[in-house]
């Protein structure tokens, strides 16, 4: 039996195609039906095109108001509290004086009350987040609903995102968050068993309570803020946040940097404002 060159190439080509096809069929059978379509979002979950916050500072009056919002967040998310060791502090939401919140806008004639006023700050969930651009592992990424999310499984702790974020919204776990403070007390006083902690060497920040949104709850800080923090869809003209932005004068932090933050601050002031 002899075949010519043309016949040989035909047979070789056909058997290659069959072989490749065969392998893919066998592999897909072996994988045993794990398909992306098997996962779906919870129907109870809140959805939006672009989540955003309005922070009405005039509604934050006492020290207690700030503490209530921060504690609600930090307790739910197992954020370690460093009482003495401020260098290693981890924070998702905290207060910041005017000159640090809106640097460059303070001036000599500003009322004393305003200069001393604290603002509640947390991750701005920017529309163009600098942290996402610099992350080498895509551990931090922008979700379709606008939340700047942090995937702790992928974070390698390079801290590029911390250098990139102009708002200092990110904290690095220099120490084991499950460890103890300098005075021997555990950093996480009461663990929330339904939420993970983090580990040493990863960066963490506010995640807009993605885990609460997915089961239809508001972010923890908004829930306990008595209306000082309003959460809603910035792309929906009928949402509460848009109504406030449409009727009151709001400012954002460092808009000149072009990251387009999604937190709008109602500065309030007296009736002359």
């Amino acid at each position: 039996m002899s075949i010519n060159r043309r016949q040989f190439l035909k047979i070789a080509g056909a058997s290659t195609v069959l072989g490749l096809g065969g392998a893919s069929v066998v592999n897909s059978l072996k994988r045993g039906g794990l398909e992306a379509s098997q996962m779906s979002p919870d129907p109870k979950g809140l959805v939006a095109k672009r989540w955003g916050f309005v922070v009405d500072v005039s509604k934050l009056e006492s020290e207690e108001d700030y503490k209530r919002c921060a504690d609600a967040c930090h307790n739910i998310h197992n954020v370690p509290v460093f009482k003495n060791d401020k260098l290693h502090e981890v924070k998702w939401i905290w207060k910041e004086p005017f000159e640090n919140t809106f640097p460059g806008t303070e001036h000599e004639y500003m009322s004393h009350e305003f200069k001393e006023k604290n603002f509640l700050v947390f991750c701005n969930h920017c529309a163009k987040p600098a942290c996402v651009k610099v992350c080498p592992t895509k551990a931090t990424f922008k979700r379709k609903d606008g939340i700047v999310m942090q995937d702790m499984h992928r974070c390698i702790g390079c801290r590029f995102c911390m250098a990139a974020c102009p708002f200092g919204a990110r904290s690095f776990n220099y120490l084991d968050p499950r460890g103890k403070d300098t005075d021997g007390t555990p950093l996480i006083k009461v663990e929330n068993k339904t939420f993970p902690t983090r580990m040493i060497g990863v960066v963490e920040k506010c995640t807009a309570c993605y885990e609460r949104l997915s089961i239809g709850q508001q972010p923890a800080c908004a829930e306990v803020s008595n209306g000082a923090i309003v959460f809603g869809d910035l792309e929906d003209p009928n949402s509460e946040v848009r109504k406030i932005i449409a009727t009151k004068y709001t400012i954002r932090r460092k808009p000149e940097l072009g990251t387009q933050p999604s937190i709008y601050y109602v500065i309030g002031g007296s009736e002359h404002a």
């Binding site: 045993g32 039906g33 794990l34 992306a36 098997q38 996962m39 779906s40 979002p41 919870d42 979950g45 197992n78 990424f141 979700r143 609903d145 999310m149 995937d151 702790m152 499984h153 663990e191 068993k193 339904t194 939420f195 993970p196 902690t197 983090r198 580990m199 993605y210 997915s214 089961i215």
Partner: protein
Amino acid sequence: MYNSGKIIAGLVVFLAFFAFPFYYNLGKANARPEPKLNTPVIQQLAEKKCVESRDFMRSEHMQLLNDWRDSVVRDGNRIYVNAEGKKHTISLQNTCMNCHSNKKEFCDSCHNYMAVKPYCWSCHIQPKEDKS
């Protein structure tokens, strides 16, 4: 052959040393791990079934957990529909460990035997168990 005595003696010593683990463990029964399923939650289940079949979970649970992780964190999808069409909430701490609250007797029994160290528990909180 020069120095045959030294070489052969050396080879014998080397082989004896090298093969030590084999004859040390010779004849010892290596008990296979028996992950325990007798937690209170599982015992109260009407139908004692995991999210997928036993064989699938045995061989593919690591892949399933990886897919679950990506699904929740990256896509925000928290409902898993299994082969029978039943829905489960995707959560290691709240779904898996709710039933398998005996991590030491369940997860660890095989993982220790196979000498694999998944890093789940450096962040995820494991259920409280009696120290044993």
